[in-house]
């Protein structure tokens, strides 16, 4: 399916937490450059744990995490926007560059650019609490973009948003993905969202978490796709796989 070595791969990974919960057992997965991979599964199947491990935010209990290159900038978008309430939108987005020692004036152009990309132009001086939930999530995405990541990890980023906002952010995310050629790993528990966004879906089963099946998706994604028969068909397939995974 892919000739090039994957951008990042987990090989035979176990993850047990100190409270004895085994989150992952013998997990193998590989993410290719430029893919949009969704991890789909019920709560507690270790989806978020996988993202955290890829991000280097946790120790593997067994197995290996392999990157194809030494240099791999990671962007992470959490389920909550996770913004600094005391800082303006601009300063929130500037944070990753600030950590790298880029001066504020030198960062301004890049911050403005990522604000524009997510539709936040002109909101730089607003504070997070003055924005709606959807706008806050855009700030969070812009903050991930500003560091120019090779891989974007998203942990149910739109789960708390209303459907209208969610659809719009889905479309905006797809547009960004196709123009920027990132690699995205997207965690969700929504079949419809995963089918709409992904090039590949990994259906997960829980206790312990593992990949139970894999669905590759074809076809152009645009708003008309949401109402197409192909979309409905793919959702049906993925739903069936998910039901299977929940039983096993």
């Amino acid at each position: 399916m892919r000739e090039a070595p994957p951008l990042v791969a987990l090989r035979g990974v176990d993850k047990a937490y100190s409270n004895g919960v085994v989150a992952l057992k013998g997990l193998d997965l590989a993410i290719g450059e430029g893919e949009f991979v969704s991890l789909l599964g019920p709560s507690g199947c270790g989806k978020s744990t996988i993202l955290r491990l890829i991000a280097g935010l946790g120790e593997l209990s067994a197995g290996a995490l392999e990157w194809s290159s030494v240099q791999h900038e990671i962007g992470f978008v959490f389920q909550d926007p996770t913004l600094m309430p005391w800082a303006s939108v601009f300063d929130n987005i500037y944070l990753p560059l600030r950590v790298r020692g880029v001066r504020r004036a030198d960062a301004a152009a890049r911050v403005e650019q990522s604000m524009e990309q997510v539709g936040l132009a002109g909101f730089g001086r607003a504070y997070p609490r003055e924005l709606s939930g959807g706008m806050r999530m855009r700030v969070s995405i812009a903050r991930a973009l500003v560091a120019e990541p090779r891989i974007l990890l998203m942990d149910e980023p739109f789960a708390a948003l209303d459907e209208i906002t969610r659809f719009r952010l889905n479309d905006d995310l797809l547009a960004l993905w196709s123009s920027q050629r990132w690699t995205v790993v997207f965690v969700t528990h929504s079949v419809f969202e995963s089918v709409y966004l992904s090039t590949r879906i990994l259906v997960m089963s829980s206790r312990p978490g593992r990949v139970s099946s894999e669905v590759a998706l074809e076809g152009k994604r645009d708003p008309s796709f949401r109402t197409s028969a192909a979309y409905a068909e793919q959702c049906r397939t993925v739903s069936a796989r998910l039901a299977q995974a929940m039983q096993s």
Partner: protein, 261 residues
Amino acid sequence: MKGLLARVVPPVVILIVGLAAWEIAVRAAAIPVYILPGPVAIVQALVRDWATLYPSLLITLAITAGALAAATVLGVAIAVLFAQSKWIEMSFFPYAVILQVTPIVAIAPLIIIWVRDTATALLICAWIVAFFPIVSNTTLGLNSTDHNLLNLLQLYGASRRQVFWYLRLPSALPFFLGGLRISGGLALIGAVVAEFVAGSGGIQSGLAYRILEAGYQLQIPRMFAALFMITGTGILIFVLLTLVNHYALRRWHESAVRREG
């Protein structure tokens, strides 16, 4: 503007009504001024004795401000130290509590004996009373940083120093300011209590000594005048610190942002 008016007018009306009732009651019952003076007699005493009361006010204020400044600097420094490691916090926090729960009236005589310079002794007493809320609140604040934000900074490879300056310190600010507001009042109380204990005379005496002195001389109106100056100072400190709190947090913290109805 309308909101401000609505907040100011009712307490002022209550004040005027209360003072009038007090004056009327004192006059109607013909209570002698050495038992309970009316507001008019107190204001007269305030004006007449201004020359002695005002320098004393300045002395008490200087001790209060000095103690509050020391409590802020040392309190934040200690909190930062506590926040560096759970071990340091667990080892030293009990002693901060001991300082806090021991009544200042009981240890003030010792401090006054040990420290030769009275002003310094008073400063230390007021500081002991004032520093605890700042230490405990700031420590709590430094440990209350959003875990996902900490994860995010870890992901971007931030140093310990960056995490401290970019995240932990700003998220501790509302907690610190809450502590500061309590400490402001406590610094004044500590200063006054210590002055009572020291009880030294001379020109270098604060308002508490003026109260003692007036009491000995049965100058009850002057006693009340000094008391009101202390209360007024306390209110002023509270209002000032509330303003600081408001302007520091008004754009982002729930406590300072007005809810839209």
